[in-house]
Symmetry: C2
Subunit: 577 residues, 2 copies
């Protein structure tokens, strides 16, 4: 038989801080992998603690218990090699991978490249590693490194390959955004090609606050072909027999790994790992998940992100204010997919400005989804506020945006009252276009625990809605929701476009400014009217204070609000004169 | 005349992003310093952009305009040397200091040690520098470095001193917390002693979102004596004639700077700066501000932080819900000190649970402060909510915390309505003890733009109140406010201690857990009852979601909430079994 290694990539959905639960999951996976004759079972980055643990890493107790957790895994590893992410301690703390075999901790690798950009703060916590190793397992050479390490062409994988590593295992916790899957697979494929090695890319899966990890772990051969891919947005265990012999076969014909190998050898420490006993088992045909269309990918990200936020925080049911508009409709649909119809409650809160169509559309949607609804009219409460404020403060001053916000905040209060009374989590329904422009009422429609579509632009919300109906094979979201002009219905005959430019113009301007940091001049040069661009940029800038108090939501773009975009509130920088 | 340099430390209050305004301030200061015959005028870290610019640093337009801003300063520097903090560009961006003289940019120093901990994220933005320089000015040698650089004993100042620098100028933006001033002055004094040099420590002053910079720039001689100190929490320009000759005099007797100087010389680049023309002027007797008692220091931090947040964000007036309790009383007092009584509006919002004493105390306070008040009773609105919710949702279910929160959210809605109608900023009144335990209503008493005492524990709020009355020489805050049991008055006969342990026990537990990351066991070992410690730690952990939606407030402790403490919301780590 030619040289080969049986790999098991254990794509788990861990919970941050749940050391006990995570260890249990790891140990169970090790047993399964061992039973199926895997040589190596691999877990994602910081598997023991969950990712990202953030400032839990500043608690000595947390670090210690993480070490104890790892130590409890070690004796469970018998006739298999396990690669487990944890917080290593060595002078300082590191983002580390434990190499465990036969009840012994064989080695610990420390991550060398620490991401400190976008949502990542790893330089805040970890000391970077400096030691590069390869593991000789049976007659195969294996390099292990961690996430960001492989994003640099001259990262540790390169020295590992130069020193002879034929299989590179990268353990990651790489958060999703639309388009990242293709970028990441292309990049890793080229690493395999450049280094004439097999690369096993192990990714985390599941939601954690603002982040959702898409899984889709995969293995790519030295020709850059992905021959095994785990499920996307689901827990999975990917088994594959990796043909190590083929690496040598290509290297004999290709001088690239030969060139600098003398230099590399000095840098890289070799560690012999007593191999697992050979097993006679049939060759495994690796599973290869198909990639997903964009709308399906985003929809699943939102479903998983919502489900995990709700469940991992101990909630059973969620509560959504249904306005009959597209935003609350898609949020209700996502929640229903995530939690089941019995766990979603819709609340209609009509006022004198609510159209009959809106009520009908909300009711039809709820019926189609099979979710329970309450109707709580706000008119009487609204009139009482107006009376009390007139009598005690502003007499006969004319109505303005104040009265609009009062209505939104009454609705916020009602939703929170139901939340308090019944222990349900409120999902907010604001989209990224609104969040960007501040077209939302703080403590009103922004009130809630989790903002499902906070990172989804309005035009894409419509696209998702259409896709959702198509996917379900029927008109769950009523057609009228797509065609009527969007409105907050906070005063007579109001539409969003009284205040905002049409979404087809607004959204690309926002993308350019918020996600790509383009300047006013560049955006105008893209062909948008200067006065509209000015208005939009000004709205984005002056509403930072609202976003600072917004609930977390799921990142699905390269640049979300929240940890991903950290602008000062007090800020007099003007992007135009 | 012995060798000396006249220094001017220009302790400005800059505005983040206000390149034009900051440049104007810098140029004006340069003229003043030049007129008073200073050889060197020094500005704080990132003077041109304000500190911290956060993700503005990811906008190419911002970086470019910062360079243009610096370039506009250069020709204004005539017969003086100016040291100006800005964002340097050199392959990547740096946190830099420009050395300018006689209309020319002589050199740019790049900060070497980049803080990435606590509230700092500098590795997110900047590339670290690697080049160390000294400037030969007349017959004196001067080293310049930036903030964090000098916090390491082997930082660039050490090599500068070994290479002969007699004066070390450190430009900083060092945010305040109680106790930091003494720590910082002690540390810098020892740097001067260790390196047998004069150290001029230039600090920023003013508020920026969660941070307040305390100024108090100072100059310390090689004996560790601070002989000049600028005003604390105020803009100031500190002039001093620095006796450079004395440095050599000590060094001739002390071998420490001799030892490694050959090694150091190779590391350090020497740059000759054509000196300013000599002026005949009388020696300046340097100003030395007295240090402040702790309560005064904290009070000023809160006043300056509040004033700058309000003013820099373009507001004139603020609005505070007055409950008659100590928290809203001290916040109203601070706001009045910060903005003047005409710019502070108190709103009393009594319910059926509000005691007559509370109303009297709030009215007395307002009268003593000279601020205007409104009274907006909430009972009628509250009854309408209860009726509507009973009729449409929960029938005759018993009252619980839901009804308490409804009241708090009605008050939030009323304050925000006044804010919307009149353009006033709402200040919230929650203290750190409450924020820690989640003893506050999200969108209720937590609703507002700025949380003045968010980082002040309840026991210290009382202390500040006592101090404030003493400082004013009369009972501004009525005595009864200090002695009555604290209560949210959301149901009959309620007191805080129905829910929380006494503040004298609660606050030290919170300090140990929140500020010092001590473990459950350590806190119990401090002598607190295990069941109380458990209860408190659980409250802190489960209320992270509330804090995430809280308005920013002023950091006055080593560990504030906000950017300073970044814990996941989804987090199953249990500090005890």
């Amino acid at each position: 038989m030619v040289r080969s290694l049986r790999l098991a990539l254990s794509q788990c959905n861990f919970v941050v801080g749940d050391l006990e639960g995570n260890v249990k999951k790891i140990v169970e996976s090790i047993k399964i992998a061992e039973n199926r004759g895997a040589d190596i079972v691999v877990f994602p980055e910081l598997a023991v603690t969950g990712y990202p643990p953030e400032d839990l890493l500043l608690k000595p107790q947390f670090i210690e218990e993480n070490i104890e957790a790892l130590n409890s895994i070690v004796p469970e590893v018998k006739d298999i090699i396990a690669v487990v992410g944890f917080v290593g301690v060595d002078e300082d703390i590191h983002n580390s991978a434990a190499i465990i075999h036969n009840g012994k901790l064989i080695d610990v690798y420390h991550k060398i490249f620490l991401p400190t950009y976008s949502v990542f703060d790893e330089d805040r916590y970890f000391k970077r590693g400096g030691r590069i190793t390869i593991y000789e397992i049976r007659d195969c050479k294996v390099g292990v490194n961690i996430c960001e390490d492989i994003w640099y062409p001259d990262g540790p994988h390169h020295f590992q390959a130069l020193a002879g590593a034929e299989l590179i295992i990268n353990i990651s916790a790489s958060p999703y955004y639309a388009g990242k899957r293709a970028y990441r697979e292309k990049m890793i494929a080229v690493r395999a090609m450049d280094n004439i090695a097999v690369v096993a890319y192990m990714n985390l899966v599941g939601g954690q606050d603002e982040l959702v990890f898409d899984g889709g772990s995969f293995i790519v051969n030295p020709l850059g072909e992905i021959f095994a891919r785990a499920k996307i947005f689901e827990e999975d265990m990917l088994f594959a027999d990796v043909d190590i012999e083929s690496v040598l076969r290509i290297r004999l014909h290709d001088p690239r790994m030969r060139k600098e190998s003398d230099v590399a050898k000095e840098k890289v420490e070799r560690i012999f790992v007593a191999p697992p006993a050979k097993r006679k088992q049939e060759r495994i045909e690796p599973y290869k998940e198909e990639d997903l269309p964009l709308e399906e990918e985003v929809l699943r990200a939102l479903i998983v992100g919502t489900r995990d936020y709700v469940r991992k925080n101990g909630f059973e049911k969620v509560l959504i204010g249904l306005s009959g508009g597209i935003d609350s409709s898609i949020v209700a649909a996502i929640a229903t997919e995530a939690l089941g119809p019995d766990n979603v409650i819709g609340v209609l809160m009509p006022s004198q400005y609510t159209s009959r169509e809106s009520i009908e559309d909300a009711e039809t949607l709820a019926k189609n989804l099979g979710i329970k609804t309450y109707v709580v009219p706000i008119t009487e409460i609204f009139e009482t506020y107006k009376k009390v404020l007139r009598e005690n403060v502003w007499g006969d001053m004319p109505e303005d945006v104040t009265e609009e916000n009062i209505q939104a905040r009454i609705r916020g209060n009602i939703l929170m009252a139901l939340s308090n009374k019944f222990g349900w989590l409120v999902l907010t329904t604001g989209n990224k276009s609104e969040m960007s422009c501040g077209y939302a009422t703080l403590y009103g429609d922004m009130a809630g625990g989790f903002a499902v579509i906070k990172d989804v632009m309005k035009t894409f919300v419509y696209r998702l809605g259409r896709y959702y109906n198509k996917r379900k094979g029927r008109e769950i979201i009523p057609e009228r929701v797509f065609v009527k002009p969007p409105s907050a219905e906070l005063k007579p005959n109001q539409t969003d476009q009284d205040t905002l430019p049409p979404y087809e113009i607004l959204d690309p301007i926002l993308k350019a400014y918020v996600e790509e940091d383009r300047s006013y001049k560049e955006i105008v040069a893209m062909g948008f009217p200067p006065d509209i661009v000015k208005k939009v940029l000004r709205m984005v800038d002056i509403n930072e204070y609202k976003r600072r108090q917004a609930p977390p939501g799921i990142k699905i773009t390269p640049r979300a609000f929240g940890k991903d975009r950290r602008l000062p509130i007090t800020n007099k920088f003007k992007p135009f004169d």
